[in-house]
């Protein structure tokens, strides 16, 4: 069977499964629609949260980013897992006890203010919408790469699939589809990893393979990789920092805090039946996420080694990389390279016209290496490799059968669709529940709200699709912004709402606004005002990374600090929260007892 046909069948079967689940899980009340009835089991919720969390970026791009950055790539591995410790201990059990449907609803009741709620809705919308752009483009990319349809068609198909289960099933439909999507994506990620680990090291478990010797030798894989990349002028794999040490620390912290503050993740914990279930569910979530996150660094390092071995075969027999016959003859390059060249993810250009591919670091800081390269007749690096290649082409690089390549396609689509659906329910529920019902028409009935919810979902899908079809040129920069905003505005407000009984509405509002504006200011300074090109203004402050050398991706943690600081200062000089609010906070802290408030009210 041809690769194309196998892929169509595999992806088609997974789509049928998702639609089947959608029919089976129709939402009948707002409780079904917003919190899946409020009785999802902890393990099922763990899987759903894991699928919700692991986006197209986690599935397709992360292993490649780790491969490119080496040790520095650890910021993503730790940043996107460590936040669950915060979530499990500081937020999930208490927000579950509070018993509401959405994040802004907690903010509104705890800070007894529609203004504070409106600020929270604003933060939620900015964070979730910037995040969803990446998911919709991810859907388009996955379709076009794997199924050979245009990326526009891909986005329309993706919108239709999400529509069937999100509009009719709400959170309930999304939850059970996400469980299925988790199973698809984790299988698709792990199977090629097992194969490649076994091929290279003889150990089928990638987590152990990465720490093993190369099969048939007594050299550790990582030592060999270090040697190969340094021979080619790159920084040593296992020690390369991402920027300065301080930058790496704050980058990691920003991603961690941002993870714990992202509304589409938090609201998944409203669907379980008890405080205890919320805690356990967070533990299961992290186990399921770790299955991918501990495999990804193995995939990254192994695929990188395979790639170097393919392009610079000379390293296999330990001849010098400067020997002319160490490099791959371009005419003999494998088919997968030619195939991916068509997508633009792989580019080859014969700069020195010798018919061979020199793949090395031409911006190395090692002058001796550059001199040697010049003496060998190299005229610059000839191969550009997009980070996504590491996962997308991994099965082909390792010469795995077609059905595995098809499975990777289904996995990539599952990852993108599940995250998109989770973001859509966060966006549409904050519009229907918090804005329309909470602020504009408080007297609306359950049935009316359900209709408004479905309309809001439909509109959100259309907007997300439009953004996916017309991605603003800054898609790459937006993820940093989503995490920065979640870290600097929502997380501190939620945490103070639980841990500081005396925090009042003025403090929380001022805190969120300063965290938000500080982060926006720093990101816009680097990436342009609302990402419009040519409007960067870093030069006014002394150039790139002017705040203690921090990259804009690392600023969320500082924004969170600013939020806490301003909130406590303002809180000191304004009126204490009323007695009943303080009693409410005390109630939230104790596991026993019914929900503090029923969600629908």
């Amino acid at each position: 069977m041809s690769l194309q046909l196998t892929t169509y069948i595999t992806v088609g079967l997974t789509f049928l499964l998702y639609i089947g689940i959608a029919i089976w899980t129709r939402a009948r009340s707002t409780k079904d629609y917003y919190v899946a009835g409020g009785n999802v089991g902890p393990i099922a919720n763990g899987m759903a949260t894991a699928a919700d969390w692991m986006s197209a970026a986690s599935f397709i791009s992360m292993a490649g980013m780790v491969a490119n950055m080496g040790f520095g790539g650890s910021v993503f591995l730790m940043g996107w897992t460590g936040g669950y410790v915060l979530l499990a201990m500081l937020l999930a059990p208490y927000l579950r006890k509070f018993g509401k449907f959405t994040v802004p609803q907690f903010i509104r009741d705890r800070f007894y203010s529609k203004t504070t709620a409106a600020v929270a809705i604003l933060c939620l919308l900015i964070a979730s919408i910037t995040y969803i752009i990446g998911q919709m483009t991810g859907v388009g990319v996955a379709f076009s790469r794997f199924l050979g349809v245009s990326s526009e068609t891909g986005i329309y198909i993706g919108m239709a699939i999400v529509f069937t289960y999100a509009v009719f099933g709400g959170m309930k439909g999304i939850t059970y589809t996400q469980v299925a999507q988790f199973c698809v994506l984790i299988t698709a990620f792990i199977i090629p990893a097992v194969f490649i680990s076994f091929q290279l090291t003889g150990n089928p478990i990638p987590q152990l393979g990465l720490g093993s010797r190369l099969a048939g030798t007594d050299i550790a894989l990582l030592d060999r990789l270090n040697q190969v990349v340094t021979d080619l002028g790159f920084r040593e794999y296992t020690t390369a920092y991402a920027g300065s040490m301080m930058n790496m620390v704050l980058f990691t912290l920003s991603l961690m805090i941002g993870t714990a503050g992202l509304p589409h993740v938090i609201m998944r914990f409203f669907t379980v039946s008890s405080v205890k279930a919320a805690r356990i569910s967070a533990g299961w979530t992290l186990i399921f996420i770790a299955m991918l996150y501990t495999t990804a660094p193995a995939v990254g390092a192994m695929a990188k080694y395979n790639l170097h071995r393919t392009v610079t075969p000379g390293i296999e027999n330990h001849s010098s990389v400067f020997d002319s016959d160490s490099h791959l003859i371009a005419a003999q390059r494998p088919d997968w390279m030619k195939r991916w060249e068509k997508t633009g993810l792989l580019k080859w250009e014969d700069k020195n016209q010798d018919g061979r591919i020199q793949y090395y670091n031409d911006t190395s800081t090692d002058q001796v290496f550059l001199d040697n390269a010049e003496n060998a007749g190299w005229k610059g690096n000839e191969l550009t490799v997009h980070a996504d290649i590491i996962v997308l082409a991994n099965p082909e690089i390792a010469l795995l059968p077609n059905w595995i390549i098809a499975l990777v396609a289904a996995g990539g689509l599952a990852a993108a669709l599940s995250t998109a659906a989770g973001l859509l329910i966060a966006i549409s529920s904050s519009i229907s529940h918090d804005l329309v019902k909470g602020i504009l028409f408080p007297k609306m009935k359950d049935k009316g709200e359900l209709i408004v919810g479905r309309i809001a979902m439909t509109v959100s899908i259309l907007i997300a699709g439009w953004l996916g079809l017309n991605p603003p040129g800054f898609a790459a920069g937006t993820v940093a912004l989503a995490f920065g905003i979640a870290a600097s505005s929502l997380f501190p407000a939620l945490m103070m709402g639980i841990f500081s009984k005396k925090m009042n509405m003025q403090g929380a509002t001022a805190g969120m606004l300063s965290g938000l504006s500080f982060t926006l200011f720093y990101v816009f300074a680097h990436k342009g005002i609302f990402f419009v090109q040519g409007t960067t203004f870093v030069h006014l402050f002394g150039g790139e990374n002017f705040f203690f050398g921090l990259a804009p991706e690392a600023i969320g943690a500082v924004g969170a600090g600013a939020n806490f600081l301003i909130a406590f200062i303002v809180n000191r000089f304004t009126k204490e929260p009323p007695e009943y609010i303080q009693a409410l906070v005390e109630g939230v802290r104790l596991p026993r007892g019914a929900s503090i408030v029923e969600g629908a009210h």
Binding site: L77, Y84, M248, R592
Partner: protein, 84 residues
């Protein structure tokens, strides 16, 4: 809050501080700040600092959540505030 509830909250906060301290120590300390010094030690083919950054820290996070669940469950019952 009644007296007991206040003691419960105090015990909870103490537990959270201990766990967060380990969380910071492993993720920021061992995996980033002291990673290069730890790399002298090998864990199989892994330099230890690198292992913490790309594997060990994640296992630690999982362990911390389950230790928290166990410990907070005990505290809940001791102060008689657990769910029925």
């Amino acid at each position: 809050m009644k007296r007991d509830d206040q003691a419960y909250w105090k015990a909870t906060k103490r537990l959270l501080c201990i766990i967060l301290a380990i969380w910071i120590l492993v993720s920021i300390g061992l995996s980033i700040v002291f990673a290069h010094s730890l790399n002298v030690i090998k864990l199989g083919g892994y330099p230890l600092g690198f292992w913490f950054a790309q594997q060990g820290s994640i296992y630690t996070f999982i362990a911390l959540i389950f230790i928290y669940i166990y410990a907070i469950g005990k505290i809940d019952r001791r102060y008689d505030v657990h769910e029925e």
